[in-house]
Point group: C2
Chain length 401, copies 2
Amino acid sequence: MMTGFKAIASGTVTSPKGFLAGAVKAGIKSQEELDLAILCSEKPCVAAGVFTTTAIKAAPVILSQKHLKNKSARAIVVNSGCANACTGDSGMADAVDMAKLVAEKLGLSTEDVLVASTGVIGVPLPMERIRAGIREVVLTKEGGHELARAIMTTDTFPKEIAMSVDAKPGEFTIGGVAKGAGMIHPDMATMLCFLTTDAVVDARFLQAALQKAVDVSFNMITIDGDTSPSDTVVILANGLAGTETINSHNGELFQKALDEVCLYLAKCVARDGEGATKLIEVTVEGALNEEQARLAARTIAGSPLLKAAIHGNDPNWGRIVAALGRSGAKVNERKLDVYLNDVCVMKQGSPVPFDRQELGTSLAGKEVSVRLYLNLGRGKAVAWGCDLSEEYVTINSAYTS
Amino acid sequence: MMTGFKAIASGTVTSPKGFLAGAVKAGIKSQEELDLAILCSEKPCVAAGVFTTTAIKAAPVILSQKHLKNKSARAIVVNSGCANACTGDSGMADAVDMAKLVAEKLGLSTEDVLVASTGVIGVPLPMERIRAGIREVVLTKEGGHELARAIMTTDTFPKEIAMSVDAKPGEFTIGGVAKGAGMIHPDMATMLCFLTTDAVVDARFLQAALQKAVDVSFNMITIDGDTSPSDTVVILANGLAGTETINSHNGELFQKALDEVCLYLAKCVARDGEGATKLIEVTVEGALNEEQARLAARTIAGSPLLKAAIHGNDPNWGRIVAALGRSGAKVNERKLDVYLNDVCVMKQGSPVPFDRQELGTSLAGKEVSVRLYLNLGRGKAVAWGCDLSEEYVTINSAYTS
């Protein structure tokens, strides 16, 4: 029996059996762009979600959390161009209306519909356009690609994938789309990710598996340290592949495949950070424990000084060490080894001479690797970020008021 | 009896009685710039210090902390151009040598000399030049101005002040210099601050007063969230003003004046952040407690998205609220009021219409104020930062390797 998984060519969120999607130009962002989409399943789904941890949540996040309490859902409606955040009671009423309109269109109950919005904060949704848009959406098997484009804001490419898995509980597919730290107008950097699978999955296991996958992927990327009131990762499992029920006993490969899908999408988001020209991968090994490894890796990947240095192809490793030092992870400088693009620049806390020009040239590539060995314990973690370019500032200061 | 304080014209760190300083071009940074300085007192001093909290400390920090254990010191030697950080055992030997050379020059014991270095990480100090430079330094009453210039890296102006205080315990002066988030070559953003006073101050009170002053000033500024292995704030009190001994019972005005000196220097540092074109002041009132107010104010002042928006004169207040939301401070959105340059943009959690063009124009000024009322408690704090410009990135990616 095979037990493996592989990416499907042109895979997307509607690749698993029984999922349909569609998108329209509702005129929320502009007249020329897809900005409203619906994803739905032909059958009821077990569902799970992970949401922004910020204290100020957008109305759609609060509503979707409520609708997920029964661990089931069947459709997601999403718009870009307006985040429906900081919009008070009327914002919540608008989010409920979106769910209702989709429920009516598809013959579902309102609680079966999740809602996500991304875009400007503090501005009410143009409900007339959304109403008309929801009416116009046509759901198709290929619609996942349209949905992937409709949720883009300043993303420069759509982010979508599907993985077919041949596991002991049976064959199934996991699909996903994401949007990254992009702004519309520009405004909030919101991360959205919608995942689907046709596997039969135990509801409690699905939530735990999603949380695990998010922890090693979306929770390990950093563009600028800012968190959005709208961050949402949701998974729907409709069971149409007819597998055995996947749970904590037989779910190892499901977890691996889900991790892989989330990692792929998360790296796409990091690579496509605003103004980014390259992906930075930071690996921390030998930390006291995993928690400290995660802390160190994320702090280094998020350091503006390091990000700016990498942008300039500058092998300025002092900034790696400085970010590690302030991360809160325990460090013994005399045990520390640091590698930049596989070149050892610090060994046991002392600088190691290296060819500055050669390393500078290798830093000009599209991917940069930073690797630290703390030599204190067995904690390991990987984080991803992007370089910090002048364009990041230009994008984020060029609001035309 | 008067009880007040006022700034002294052209005041600097040598304005208090009995302090001398001098600086030379030792050739550490370049041939044309002051880069090595000594500050000393004619009499022994009670001393206190606050240092970087990072896990990887530069050798001079470790040495100065050791020399301050007896709560006394008499001289400080400082260089720019090389941080003497991540330099292993030989780096520590170099720091000790610097203290020894100054002690010999001035007839002090090595333990009386504190050391500070700022500049490139991971590169050994050019000890021959430092040795020669220390020999050449001439100490004068006006030398504080030279010292203020010698510690500059990418700072665009020297930061110095002195305040004369007429308090119940007697008249005295507090002086100070600082350098900010500047880079040399460029490398670490190090913050150094040297303070002096001729007041007679109880040693324990001095340490507590310095920590308090740092907490409301240097600990409330943020340029880019990166912390240096070299951050140092030190105060020397030589008692030459012949006041009563200032302690926790009679030290209120001393504390206020010290706060004021530190605030002035901290705001200079924020205003002169790399690539900065304006100062951003963030006030948070009505937090559950002071700790939460500090957290919220610092998080908002440090948000790259807000900093970029302010750079572009963009009244994009959603970013203020988003940063508040992720700060960790307790927030009830429905109670939240937000003001940008004194214009109310959010009241009790709902957007308030405002003249976008007028507010945009006012944001073009040199100082921008952000004010939030959480209406939950009595916690209040103020933090300072600067805008994020394309030039920050240019400065920090333009290492010429």
